[in-house]
Amino acid sequence: MSPDFLIALILLSNFTLVATSRVNKAIQIAVIQGVLLGLIPLAMGLGRHPHILFMVAAAITVKGWLIPFLLRRAIKEVQIHREVDPYIGYTVSLMLCALGTGLSLILAHVLPLKGGTQVILLVPAALATLFTGFLMLVSRRKALTQVVGYLILENGIYLFGLLLVEDMPMLVETGILLDLFVGVFVMGIVINHIRTAFDSTDTRHLAELKD
């Protein structure tokens, strides 16, 4: 399986994510994207390094099992309404996502990067995923969907890190996994606190904290 194929799938998952209207489905797509990402190093032919194999396993476990497990439990516990509840409509989101992807294709072309990677789509996909994550963060109202947005953002950074994976794998990987864990952790706390303080997980309520 060529890595470009996987990356194309990731790009597609970005679009699906932006267009989806159900929280559950958004989590599902994030899981699929995480697993696809985890497989990329293998598809790049790096499977011969045992530590990279280990990290693939770790990434797939965390992104494909641990995080969705935590998120689904949060849904159950906090009883979140299933609607995604966006600020920006789905169509507009889709268009913005497409705009971001186009922009990242152009940017990847002109950015002064170190050459030498065979995977042409890696950099644009990384940027596009980053933008999609941001789009989710900015345009979705619920704290849970924001966690998903944050995950997507991290996926983008992970993709970018794959550029360096052969040179300094450990550094990149552990950094990203740690970051991710902290992100979910913090967001979990935020979700819980918003709920106990305002009886809802709508992040709009945070504006009441403004000084």
């Binding site: 600020y87 940017l107 002109v110 950015l111 933008f131 900015v138 945070l206």
Partner: protein, 646 residues
């Protein structure tokens, strides 16, 4: 050095046992601080008496291998007031801020930290420990000022102080960076000849003057000083005024010791700033009603006197007149010690008064001399010394500077040292007027309020520290030859070469002692001869036979000083409200007058108010919406990417 290090540790940890004790934490802290002070003073005096200069070297590479901490005569000169005053303040704090106060533990702990940082700072001869000590001092002082943080006044003072001290530290970072680029290492040591005249040297001087001047409270940079000293607990004010602001002077003294050939204008600038702070400091002190604010302005005045001495010494150094160097630097260094002694004494005495009466307002005191005889005597001693009158110590150091200025008249064609002479004379006279006002309003006459009428004398743990400080003031005043050799050693470190003339050859020190003893004798005889006839009971102050006098008929502090304040209104700009009486049968009219601070109230306050108004225009950016903030991040990211590409 080992002794000194032990002293630092003892002093720094003096507040720790108190954290675990239910009661008597103050006693333990005072005992530890006292022990540390004895050790530290021993180490410092040994160096000043000619002992070897000790240096601590660490083998760790990033800290360089030479001279991390050095206990040289200059450090010892500054370490003496640090230890003496910390021990006195700790003992004073036992009853002044006793265990019943909710923040007594914090106060003791941080007081110990402040004293420890100061003791550490004075021996630092490397940029890193210097800045560590500097920040330790600045931050612990901030916590101490905020002791009474439920009062808005204390909070305001604390924040202003924090902003000022960090601005100063910023300047020091710059100064040390220049030093590094000039010498190639972070050890603070001598700079090559000729460096001072380069533009880098000028930058160094300006940055040091700003950073250290801000800490010392030199006149245009003194804005944090009065309110901080007024808001802090009195023994903390004593520490801050007596020791902490001297660290600015320490910095300048160190700078001058690194430079072998300071340009002429450095000395002139120091002298000009000295004259400015000296005269304006005492002038603004005259207009104050708040006892501790008044003392705080006097700190500015005394920093001015010290700068006059430093300026004179620097001019001597740059023009090659060792006589001026010795007299100027010795006067400045001795005044550093003297000021910490008598200002510490005055703040402690003022604290006793505030403790007894419950206010700092001079107009609500009066007649306390009868109820608090010891405090009154202590305050009188301090006032006598700060006014520069013989036979106390303030006279000795000012006399050195006077002599230096007189000598300078003969050395140069231009009689510029007249500036020093005029400034010193003016300062002395105004200081005396100001302390006549303060002492009279607080201790003489009859009580103006009920609280002043029922005041009580302070407990012994507060009186003994004052007694110690007063005794040292008297010893230096009566026997200046005791400190002269120590000053010679310090000046030799500071001046160009060790071959300068001895202080004892320039000043007739035994003459000073004889004069002082003579004055004490005459005073005692006068007191014996003029003693009033014995009579029973205590009588009110003589009121010229008026039958129905009441306390409101006395001179108030403001009316006493009004002649001078009105004469100086072109610099002081006093503000007064109300008080115009009209008609044949006038009704009661309120009247108040005060002298706002020229820099803080008239310059900094409006400027920062405008800035803050301008900044509030940007408030719309802070929507409180998480999404909007994330949008800012996204837009920044995009902008950066595009900027990189374009």
């Amino acid at each position: 050095m080992r002794l000194y290090f032990l002293a630092i540790l003892l002093v720094m940890g003096s507040g720790v046992p108190g954290l675990f004790l239910r009661r008597r934490g103050g006693d333990v802290a005072a005992a530890l601080m006292g022990l540390g002070a004895v050790l530290g003073l021993t180490a410092a005096i040994r160096v000043l008496a000619g002992g070897p200069v000790a240096t601590l070297v660490l083998p760790a590479a990033p800290l360089a291998t030479a001279g991390l901490l050095t206990l040289d005569p200059i450090a010892a000169c500054f370490a003496i007031p640090v230890f003496l005053l910390s021990a006195c303040a700790a003992s004073y704090g036992i009853s002044y801020w006793d265990d019943h106060q909710e923040n007594a533990r914090t106060l003791r702990l941080v007081l110990g930290l402040l004293a420890g940082s100061l003791a550490f700072l004075v021996v630092s001869t490397h940029a890193l420990p210097f800045l560590l000590g500097w920040e330790g001092m600045a931050l612990s002082a901030f916590v101490l000022v905020m002791t009474e943080d439920r009062l808005p006044e204390a909070r305001r003072a604390g924040w202003i102080y924090l902003v000022c001290t960090h601005t100063g530290t910023l300047a020091l970072f710059g100064a040390f960076a220049i030093l590094y680029s000039a010498s190639g290492h972070w050890v603070l040591s001598g700079l090559p000849r000729g460096f001072a005249a380069t533009s880098q040297g000028t930058m160094l001087f300006v940055l040091c003057l700003f950073g250290f001047g801000l800490k010392a409270g030199v006149m245009p940079l003194h804005l944090w000083l009065p309110s901080t000293h007024a808001a802090a607990p009195s023994h903390v004010s004593a520490m801050m005024s007596g020791v902490m602001i001297k660290m600015g002077i320490l910095g300048l003294v160190r700078l001058l010791s690194w430079i072998p050939d300071p340009p002429f204008w450095w000395g002139a600038v120091l002298m000009g700033l000295g004259a400015l702070s000296g005269i304006l400091g005492v002038a603004f002190a005259l207009g104050q009603h708040d006892l501790k604010r008044l003392l705080a302005y006097h700190s500015i005045e005394n920093i001015g006197i010290i700068l006059l001495g430093l300026g004179l010494g620097t001019l001597g150094k740059s023009t090659g007149h060792p006589v001026l160097q010795v007299l100027g630097f010795a006067g400045a260094l001795l005044h550093v010690l003297n000021h910490s002694l008598f200002k510490g004494l005055l703040f402690l005495a003022a604290g006793s008064v505030v403790h007894a009466v419950g206010t700092r307002n001079l107009e609500r005191m009066g007649g306390l001399g009868r109820r608090m005889p010891w405090t009154s005597a202590a305050f009188l001693t301090g006032s006598w010394a700060i006014s520069g009158l013989p036979p106390l110590n303030g006279f000795v150091s000012e006399w050195f500077i006077y002599l230096g200025a007189f000598r300078a008249l003969g050395f140069f064609r231009w009689p510029w040292s007249l500036v020093v002479l005029t400034a010193l004379a003016l300062i002395g006279a105004l200081a005396m007027a100001c302390f006549a006002k303060a002492y009279g309003a607080v201790f003489l006459g009859s009580p103006r309020t009920e609280a002043a009428g029922t005041a009580h004398e302070s407990p012994r743990s507060m009186l003994v520290p004052m007694g110690i400080l007063a005794a040292v003031c008297a010893i230096i005043g009566l026997a200046p030859m005791l400190v002269a050799p120590a000053l010679d050693r310090a000046v030799a470190t500071l001046g160009e070469s060790a071959g300068g003339p001895q202080l004892s050859l320039l000043v007739n020190l035994p003459g000073l002692t004889i004069l002082a003893l003579l004055m004490v004798g005459v005073a005692w005889l006068l007191w014996r001869w003029l003693k009033p006839v014995e009579q029973g009971g205590t009588l009110p102050t003589w009121d010229c036979g008026y039958a129905a006098s009441n306390p409101r008929m006395q001179y108030t502090a403001s009316s006493f000083a009004d002649g001078l304040v009105a004469g100086l209104d072109w610099v002081l700009w006093p503000r007064s409200l109300g008080g115009k009486v009209a008609g044949n049968f006038p009704v009661d009219r309120p009247f108040e007058s005060h002298v706002p601070d020229p820099v803080l109230d008239r310059l900094a306050d409006p400027v920062f108010r405008t800035l803050s108004l301008g900044a509030s225009l940007l408030r719309f950016l802070q929507s409180g919406q998480l999404h909007i903030y994330l949008l800012y991040v996204l837009l920044t990211l995009l902008a950066l990417l595009l900027w990189m590409v374009a």
